[in-house]
Each structure stands twice: as structure tokens, then as C-alpha cells.
Symmetry: C2
Subunit: 294 residues, 2 copies
């Protein structure tokens, strides 16, 4: 069954996701602040809209894929936004990575306007978005999740309904904490090994055989060994996501000492002017602390 | 080809390793400070010795599996030790987890006595020791590694020659850092999720599908979810290993901020009287910081 979908936010993630939905036969109305990406999708059969309100007006489902909480709140609940255009009973799916508290507030405002809303942030990056293999962490009500399922199946591979409103964003924050700490852990191991004169490639080989094994070590192996930090996932975005995790920790009352430390290290990388590099470049900050010359 | 092996240190790791070498047809002379474990291996065909010196006297290869640097240094280089008994040309393999600097010193002393020495610490725990599936991180000279290979093949599965003398211990320290940080990362994620009311099992399901995936999350899943902390790998031992990593960092000149933080947390767990629990109990320290009631 195909749906009429409004898709708002055609960046590095949103554009290939929208293209996959079009290719699967869904009817798409798209909106983006700058018009360039809309034209490309128009050629693939999407209808361009002049505003978020217009993109929502004829849609059964409205998907948002935007940078952060303020943009999503503005586009969904602001003037000329989704809730002004959406039909009663429409399903809103926010796939951006935003604050869980903001996600719960939006769910309440959507409900007040007679709409359903899911928070459904993703991991897997632009490659996962293009290939339709994203991991999707879904927070919201079971009925709404069932309704969204055919669209999620086009966009992703691992789809887990993790709880009620906001839960998807909580789990995404957890995900970004664990990824950052894995990069930091592997980075410190490689710094110690290099100071002791041990070949980093052999360290990764040996650690991959036991309890220390992790996906970061596999996926970012060449980044670490070749010192090649083309993104991938940008440091700026990881800093933003760690900021969300720390804000969530304050909101829900959690003390996260390791996350605090790795956030400072990731911030130091950003402040050194390398915010547009891949997050595996955290290695270079750790090397700097130990006086390792790149 | 079978070898005449002296095996010293029949603890939770050494005893099943010695039994596997016996089962593979090697001729074993065993020594342990307390005689109980020697009697059990005697029934399986090992010859008991009265001292480390005696265990080494007729051996082509002498394996040590002891708690820490002081014990290994004493048993290998002390009075009545291996180097007093060993034949010229004997191969010493220390499979204990000790300081890399101590390992290099022992290699020099062995060489001075006309022997070869490898540092070959393992990971995989008592289960890996029993099943012969240990990961072995080997430091030393290529000729000695070739000579040891048939014995390593009996004891382990992933055998990586990571560099010269001491390199095996450096990589083992790296391994223990990454494992501790993974436990800490997953622990902080579970604390945030639980404070936000999200089911920890679903967090692990969702994170396992992406870049956050790690072996700790799989292997320790039931420990985290069932709050079952029977070792496994004891907190006391992980504290000892993190102490080795920190000492190595000072010796080789590395600054390891994340390792420092997780070491303090693991120490706090030990100081709370839970040194004999599994290291996944680090979760309970993180819960305590956030006021989570177990």
C-alpha cells in the first residue's frame, strides 16, 4: 500500500531517504529551505511545496529530517509549520536527532492538534540512508508504529520500537555516547601502543579476537591506520549529539562521567578547527595530549 | 612433535591450560606454590616438581602463569627460580599479565642466562583456557615465536605476534583498557535509559544493529539485564590490569584521560567490597552515582 508522504528536510540524510520512498512507489510532496535539493527530487517524481504547511496539507504521513531541536520545533509547531497544514489524524514522524524532552513536547502538541507523532532517529549515516539500511530507534505509541512500519521498512534494516514518546531520542543519545566512547577507547589504546613502539594494525588485529572487539574498530580501521578523516560522520554533529546526551542526563537525572570526558575531548577537536572531519579524528586529540607527532 | 614442558602456576587459568597440553601429548613437569592443583594434574600424567628450578631443569619450554609482575620476576629470576634450573637454550614463555617494562627486563635477564623468553598474555578467561580458545598476544623474537607455535595452537585460537619483547604485554594492557571502557560506555547508556524510563533490553537490541555494537554488550548482556555478577572476570583482576596500563602509560609517556576515569570507577567498585564480582558490576557504581536503586 502506498502512502501520500510530506517530506521536509532534504540534506545529506533526507535527500536519499526521500528518493528511496519515491522509488518504492510512495507519493511525495517535498519541502526544503533552499530549493536546490527539491529540484533534484522533482525530476524523480516528487511534488515541490512552498512551505512546511503546504507539504503537510495533502499528506497521510509527514516526515521531518532536520539538524536539531530548534529547527524541528519551528518546522512542526511554528507559524506556517506542519501542524497548521496537517489533516486531522495525520502521522508525523520526526527522524532528526533532537532532545528527548523536545520530542515529548512535540508529541503533546501534535496530539493537541489531532495528529500522531513518532520520534524515530536513525544511525547508519549517509551510506545507510542511500542503501536503505538505517537503524531506526522508534519512540511513540504502538498504533502509530504499525502505521509507519511500511515506510520504515523502505528506509531501514534494524527497526526497534524502544518505548513511548521520546524513547527513540533517548536511545539515540545512548548510541552516540557508546560510539564516542568506543572511538576514545580505541584511540587511547593506539596512542599507548604507538608510544611503546607497537604496530597499531597488529593491536587492532589482536583486540578484534576477544572481548575488546567492537564495530568502531572494524568500520573505522582504515581511518585510524591511514589517518584519513574524510567524513563519514562529522565531528560537529557528534558534538551536537553529545550535547543532547548531556542535556538529557540533566533532565532525567543521570551522572555520566565517561561521557563528560569524551564530550570534552570531542569539543577540543571541534575547537581546533576540525569540526568537518570524521569523528574518528578524535585519535588526533588523544595523540596531541601525549605529544605524538602525526 | 611433543615437547618437554615445565608449567608453573596452576591457578584458575594455568590448571586447564596445563591439562590441555597434557591431553595434546606433551610431557609436563608442574610446579605450584600450594600442592593441591599439582596432585590433580599428576593424576592426568604430569610429574610434580618441588620448585620452579626443578620444573625447569629437564624442560625444553617453561611456561609461567602467575598473578602479577612481582611473582613472575621472583619465580623466573629469583633464588630457586627458573633461570637457575633452565638448560641453556630453553624457551621461557610468560603467559601472565604483567607490566611491559618488567617483561622487557625479564627478557634481558633470560638472554643473559642463555635462554629465550616470550611475553604471551592471554584473553578469554577461564572458559577460553578450558576450551583452548584463548586469544594470545605475543611479544618477542620471531624464532622463539615459531618454536612456541605448536604449544600456542593447543592453548588458543587467535594468536598474534604483535612485536618485540614487551609488545604482548602492551597489547594486553590496550585490551583491558578497551574492555573496561566498553563496560563503562554500555553502563552509562543503561543508566541514562533507565532514568528516562526506557527498557534496557531494547536499548541493547537497538545499539547492537549499528556502529555502537560491541562484544561486551553481547557477552555481558545477561549480566547487565539480570544483574547477575558471578565472575567471569573479577573486578580485582581488572583493577590490577588497569594499574598496569596506567603504569605503562607513565613509562612510555602517554596521557589516557578516559582510561584514568574508568580506572577510578573500577577502583570504587573494588573499594565498595565487590572485588570478587564480575567486572560488568561496574554498572552498579554508575547507577550509584545517579541514585538508581538496584
Amino acid at each position: 500500500m502506498t502512502a501520500s508522504v510530506g517530506f521536509i528536510g532534504l540534506g545529506i540524510m533526507g535527500r536519499p531517504m526521500a528518493a528511496n520512498l519515491l522509488a518504492a512507489g510512495h507519493e511525495l510532496t517535498v519541502f526544503n529551505r533552499s530549493p536546490g535539493p527539491m529540484r533534484a527530487l522533482e525530476e524523480q517524481g516528487a511534488r515541490p511545496a512552498q512551505s512546511a504547511e503546504e507539504a503537510a496539507a495533502s499528506a497521510d504521513v509527514v516526515i521531518t529530517m532536520l539538524p536539531d531541536s530548534p529547527q524541528v520545533t519551528e518546522v512542526v509547531a511554528g507559524p506556517g509549520g506542519v501542524l497548521e497544514g496537517a489533516r486531522s489524524g495525520a502521522l508525523l514522524i520526526d527522524m532528526s536527532t533532537i532532545s528527548p524532552v523536545a520530542a515529548v513536547e512535540l508529541w503533546e502538541r501534535a496530539r493537541g492538534a489531532g495528529c500522531e507523532l513518532l520520534d524515530a532517529p536513525v544511525s547508519g549515516g549517509d551510506v545507510g540512508a542511500r542503501e536503505g539500511t538505517l537503524s531506526i530507534m522508534v519512540g511513540g505509541e504502538a498504533d502509530a508504529v504499525r502505521r509507519a512500519r511500511p515506510l520504515f521498512d523502505v528506509l531501514g534494516q534494524t527497526i526497534v520500537h524502544v518505548g513511548g514518546p521520546g524513547a527513540g531520542q533517548v536511545v539515540k543519545a545512548c548510541n552516540q555516547m557508546v560510539v564516542a566512547l568506543n572511538i576514545g577507547a580505541v584511540g587511547e589504546a593506539l596512542v599507548l601502543a604507538s608510544k611503546a613502539g607497537v604496530d597499531p594494525a597488529l593491536v587492532l588485529d589482536a583486540l578484534g579476537g576477544g572481548l575488546a572487539a567492537n564495530r568502531v574498530m572494524e568500520v573505522k580501521r582504515d581511518n585510524f591506520l591511514e589517518r584519513e578523516f574524510t567524513p563519514g560522520f562529522k565531528v560537529d554533529l557528534h558534538c551536537k549529539d553529545l550535547g543532547i546526551a548531556q542535556a538529557a542526563a540533566r533532565d532525567y537525572g543521570a551522572s555520566l562521567p565517561l561521557t563528560a570526558t569524551v564530550t570534552e575531548l570531542m569539543q577540543a577537536l571541534r575547537l581546533s578547527g576540525r569540526g568537518d572531519q570524521d569523528h574518528s579524528a578524535l585519535l588526533t586529540v588523544l595523540e596531541g595530549l601525549s605529544g605524538v607527532q602525526a
